[in-house]
């Protein structure tokens, strides 16, 4: 019954008939012969040399992915990375800040000599330039240390082991095990983490990974966390243990973030994104010796410079906005002060203050500039006092602004949980093409942030 003109329907009908004739083990037979051929050819062209090397990969994997030691080793590595970052970044940060303030001072003096109007000098040097200087000195050293170490782990092949160790946790919360991988990418940049969720096939699980990626602190937020941990947590310990305690605090914050990732995934699975976790195979690649040159290139050029450049692009306008807010007076009180006063009750309720919330509003384009923004508002841009070391920041925050341990703890929590930055929001939109999910992705973290900090502040005040 061969038809003269074959339309697709006839082709399919004929194919179905033939399929029934052949029997339904077709796929098995094809795959079986495929594997047999592959094996035959491989056997003929691969010869195992006499001196077969020690199989290090398996030995190492038995330890780093073991049910008992896997997680502690992971936490240890994480703590070590933060510790090195904290210890290493302190001095260069201070040196950078000092040189920037020398430049600022000299430039202001020069402009004054030239007779440039005070408001232009102020706008450029005390506004825009100071914003840039803060961002570069606070962010560059930690990034230049953190990113190469992170890239080494990635090149080495450790990330899939992390996914392997965490798989059961994600599966229990109804999410995909590969979410551990995209979460790890989020440490670098949440926008990159959101893009990386493409490795997850199931739309439901991919959406969960997108919506919860923000709960791991990205590199833009690490400097904030590291600074607060150093100033408040570290300082509460004897000097010998200060950096260790600070590193421990940052690890603690990261763990809380992972906890919220799991909690949010679990909640989404039980409510709007119901479904079962799908199975997948995860290949543990061989450990490879990282190529140092490429690591430096990837981590310094692709990551550090990229993030820094973005921070600079947003810091300059933010510096300008702050300067304008601080220098336009309405009825004798600056706009910055008025906005901060307006936000004060809300800030107090969640254990922070109005200035911090104002800084978060101004810093929506990029999380990196929250601390610089905050400090600039606190100091009042008109003043020329330069704050270059962590000790001075500590004095300013505790003695002048009345910060307590509660402020520091809640700021770390708020920084961890609050809404994603503008770039991440745009990326969520690009990946989901859905206004609904973009909104949920932006607001859900904010709700978490307010709820958690409010709860902590309330309980803290009850007992303090």
């Amino acid at each position: 019954m061969t038809p003269k003109v074959a339309d697709p329907q006839t082709v399919l009908l004929r194919a179905d008939t033939l399929r029934r004739e052949i029997g339904d083990d077709f796929r098995d037979r094809i795959v079986f012969s495929l594997y047999a051929d592959a094996q035959r050819i491989a056997d003929r062209s691969v010869h195992v040399g006499a001196k077969r090397g020690w199989d290090w990969d398996q030995k190492i994997d038995r330890i780093v992915t073991s049910p008992v030691l896997g997680l502690p080793i992971m936490l240890g590595i994480l703590a070590l990375i933060f510790w090195i970052t904290i210890v290493g970044a302190n001095v260069p940060s201070q040196m950078l800040a000092e040189s920037f303030f020398v430049i600022e001072g000299a430039a202001v003096a020069l402009f004054t000599d030239w007779g440039v109007p005070g408001w232009i000098t102020g706008f450029i040097w005390n506004g825009v330039f100071r914003g840039l200087a803060w961002v570069v000195s606070v962010m560059l050293p930690p990034m230049a240390i953190f990113f190469p170490m992170f890239t080494i782990l990635e090149d080495l092949g450790y990330l899939p082991r992390v996914a392997f160790n965490l798989d059961w946790l994600f599966r229990r919360s109804g999410a995909h095990g590969k979410q551990a991988l995209t979460m790890a990418m989020g440490f670098g940049c949440n926008a990159a983490g959101v893009t990386a969720t493409r490795v997850i096939d199931s739309p439901r699980e991919r959406l969960i990974a997108i919506l919860t990626n923000n709960f791991v602190p990205c590199n833009g937020r690490f400097p904030t966390l590291i600074m607060l941990a150093t100033i408040f947590v570290g300082a509460a310990f004897p000097p010998a243990f200060a950096s260790l305690a600070a590193a421990g605090a940052v690890v603690g914050v990261v763990l809380i973030g992972v906890g919220f990732t799991l909690l949010a995934s679990w909640l989404l699975t039980r409510t709007v994104l119901q479904g079962a976790a799908s199975a997948f195979t995860l290949e543990l690649p061989p450990y490879r010796r990282p190529s140092m040159l490429r690591i430096l290139y990837t981590s310094l050029i692709d990551r550090t410079i990229f993030v820094l450049w973005r921070a600079i692009l947003t810091a300059a306008p933010a510096g300008a906005v702050i300067w304008i807010l601080a220098n336009i007076d309405v009825a004798g009180v600056s706009l910055a002060q008025r906005s901060a006063d307006f936000l004060e009750p809300l800030g107090f309720a969640i254990g922070l203050d109005g200035v911090i919330l104002l800084a978060y509003v101004i810093a929506i384009p990029a999380n990196e500039i929250v601390v610089p923004t905050m400090l600039m508002v606190y100091m009042g841009v008109g003043s020329m006092s330069d704050v270059t070391s962590y000790d001075e920041i500590r004095t300013l925050l505790i003695d002048d602004q009345g910060w307590t341990m509660l402020t520091a703890v809640n700021l770390m929590l708020f920084s961890l949980l609050h809404n994603p930055c503008a770039t991440t929001i745009i990326t969520i939109w690009k990946e989901t093409r859905s206004a609904k999910w973009t909104t949920i992705g932006s607001l859900m973290p904010l709700v978490f942030a307010f709820a958690v900090t409010f709860a902590v502040a309330t309980i803290w005040r009850l007992f303090a």
Binding site: A6, P8, Q9, T10, V11, L12, R14, A15, R19, E21, I22, R27, R29, V31, S33, L34, D37, A38, I41, A42, D43, R44, S45, V46, H47, V48, G49, A50, K51, R52, G53, E154, D155, L156, G157, L159, P160, A163, L181, G188, C189, A191, A192, T195, A196, R198, V199, D201, L282, E283, P285, P286, Y287, R288, S291, R294, T298, D302, R303, F306
Partner: protein, 276 residues
């Protein structure tokens, strides 16, 4: 099949040596289209980067290339466009990555397909090679990670491999660029016809072959211009829903149009990958 006699040490004297130029994404027109396929984590992105000079993100974990990246290089005044397909273990299942890869191989009509394989896990990687050979004739197998194989005490006989597959096999270490000159030259030779390929297609059981033979002319009539009706026939006999639907909706022809349309925006894609 004949292979070019280029050897490792002959590289410097090879006419291609001085003429390989990385073109990045700045290629408007191109002379030849080359697809890059392979299992995940075989160093495919390293091969891509080394040839094009681009910096697609490389990381030692499976499935990190989330977008189809494109770039180019020139060799002996000819421009080659290189398309990096997502890493897949096979072309048989319905995952998105596998579909992208096989659609490109079927309808993108690359002039040559380079399948990157891991020299330390040849058997698993050959599954994909054999499946690619079902779809297209002009294939070069890039046996990458030769350094790791050597370290593990494995000797890979690429001549024997090449003979058994019926297509050239080139040993490489993409990270150090070892063997890449030979690779691009072999690709050029396959495209120009200086090297002819005769891929092995292990015969299927006779009743399957009969069914395929009967379906092929029907498919060719209903979707004219389809490059590999035999493969489509095999997919239909397997009850592949995507291929069924594609045939019904006339998508098989549409796909062809989509794939041959110029793809821009590549620079932005590459930039995004660098952000990780």
């Amino acid at each position: 099949m004949t292979t070019s006699a280029t050897t490792q040490s002959g590289c410097e004297t090879c006419p291609a040596h001085a003429q390989l130029a990385q073109m990045g994404v700045s290629l408007g027109k191109y002379d030849h289209l080359v697809a890059l396929a392979g299992n995940p984590n075989t160093g495919k992105s390293s091969v891509f980067n080394a040839l094009t000079g681009l910096r697609q993100h490389v990381g030692n974990w499976t499935g990190k290339t989330v977008m189809r990246a494109e770039g180019g290089y020139t060799l002996q005044n000819l421009r080659y466009k290189l398309v990096d397909l997502p890493g897949t273990y096979s072309l048989l299942s319905a995952s998105e990555d596998e579909e992208i890869s096989r659609n490109f191989l079927l309808f993108g009509r690359p002039d040559c397909t380079v399948v990157v394989v891991d020299a330390t896990a040849l058997e698993r990687n050959l599954n994909l090679v054999l499946q690619v050979l079902e779809i297209t004739d002009r294939v070069v197998v890039c046996v990458n990670l030769m350094d790791e194989a050597r370290r593990k005490g494995l000797e890979v006989d690429v001549r024997s491999l090449s003979r058994d597959l019926g297509v050239p096999a080139v040993p490489t270490v993409a990270r150090t660029k070892e063997g890449l000159q030979n690779l691009v030259q072999t690709v050029a030779d396959v495209i120009s016809g200086a090297v002819t390929t005769k891929p092995v297609r292990p015969p299927h059981p006779p009743e399957l072959e009969r069914a395929v033979d009967e379906l092929v002319p029907l498919i060719e009539q209903s979707a004219p211009g389809l490059p590999n009706a035999r493969w489509v026939a095999l997919r239909l006999l397997d009850g592949d829903h995507k291929v069924r639907q594609a045939l019904l909706s006339g998508e098989l022809s549409d796909l062809e149009l989509q794939q041959s349309a110029p793809v821009e925006e590549m620079s932005s894609v590459v930039a995004l990958q660098g952000r990780q």
